[in-house]
Subunit: 197 residues, 2 copies
DNA sequence: TAAACATTACGAACCGTCTCGTATTGAATT
DNA sequence: AATTCAATACGAGACGGTTCGTAATGTTTA
């Protein structure tokens, strides 16, 4: 559900319209999908969702928050945390799933949009980190530290996490190249202690 | 110099004002430094540099191109390509210099601005890659392939480049953490063939 | 009856283009 | 050598258009 809290609230007056909420998220996703994030505006979200402009402003601080809420729903569906017993296998599966997610063209646009907005708006950057980035880091950290004793750790776990998400974000935001499946193997090679040491 | 070409041209008419060019770059840098990239507009660059609006539009396609020109000057000064004869030493020096550069607060703001604009404006993204990103990749690739025979390459050189710049950009754009010097050692450890294999 | 709703209007900021008169440059003409 | 001319850059600022975020209005619903 993601939203809500204020369990206390009196709930007097008219309740929030779930229909409007869904309509806003759908409209935003569709606008970005067809015309890109640059074409997204709250005016247009309101127009194309059939919702009042003030309603959007009432529930979301910025248009990027609308996008983030739309994206989070997709994340929750698509990326589980594997636990096969083998570090290599878990890592391979997590990376495969993540890269597949990062290949979905609708998703790429949303991720780019959020990263861009985070550069321009420090308040949103804070929410973005707390809500999205840390969630992803925690998942990978869980995998990497599961049998911690085994890895002699010349490299901090947090740095390994930086490497993985670094490559992913770099290729989403800076380079125009798509992910290929060899990348999974290469990353596992780099992250995994190679036998002897 | 960066500009010029058209060596052929008659050069009739008034010459471009170097004073105005410098004033524009300085004003842009200063606005971003104090109020952030979100506050940057061509109107304001013109106003605060004491330059006509049309003059800015004449020489730069977008405000991001102004920022990129300002940044490139800093890069050329600060990051040489080392050649000590040792892969490890070259790598260590390159990373140290690059991270030091990426710690300069003025620089961080400019890099963030360029990355953000590249997400929003595909035309600029093209110029950004061709002018800045590829330049940096080429430098690191030179180092990594200098004694190519020695590395058996279970991992493509281009992927290693992705890892390095991935971590750097990730920590500039997504995370709020600063670079520490241990990161250099860790990256060298990950990128360098560990003795036996 | 209170709060969310859709609608509409508003001022502020910035965009990109345009025009004005002036300044600077090289080439052509005296 | 002195003058004129054409080309181009310059600062200044007006222009119509767009989007922003907020506010005011009456309507609908729990």
């Amino acid at each position: 559900m993601l939203v809500l809290m204020e369990t206390q609230r009196a709930a007097r007056g008219r309740a929030r319209s779930e229909v409007s909420r869904q309509a806003v998220l759908a409209a935003a996703t569709q606008i970005i999908g067809t015309d890109g994030y640059a074409a997204l505006s709250i005016e247009r979200i309101a127009r194309e969702s059939g919702v009042g402009k003030q309603t959007v402003y009432r529930w979301w601080p910025t248009k990027a928050d609308v996008v983030m809420e739309a994206l989070l729903h997709k994340v929750e569906v698509n990326i589980p945390i594997p636990d096969t017993g083998s570090l290599e296998a878990d890592l391979r599966q997590f990376l495969t799933t993540s890269l597949r997610f990062g290949r979905m063209s609708q998703v790429v646009e949303l991720l780019r949009a959020l990263a861009a907005e985070a550069q321009l708006n420090p308040d949103f950057a804070e929410r973005f980190r707390a809500t999205f980035v840390d969630h992803r880091r925690a998942a990978l950290t869980t995998i990497l530290t599961r049998d911690e004793g085994r890895r002699p750790a010349p490299v901090r776990t947090s740095t390994l996490v930086d490497v993985v998400f670094g490559v992913i974000w770099y290729r989403l935001l800076i380079l125009p190249t798509e992910f290929d499946d060899d990348l999974v193997t290469e990353l596992v090679t780099l992250l995994t202690p190679t036998g002897d040491q």
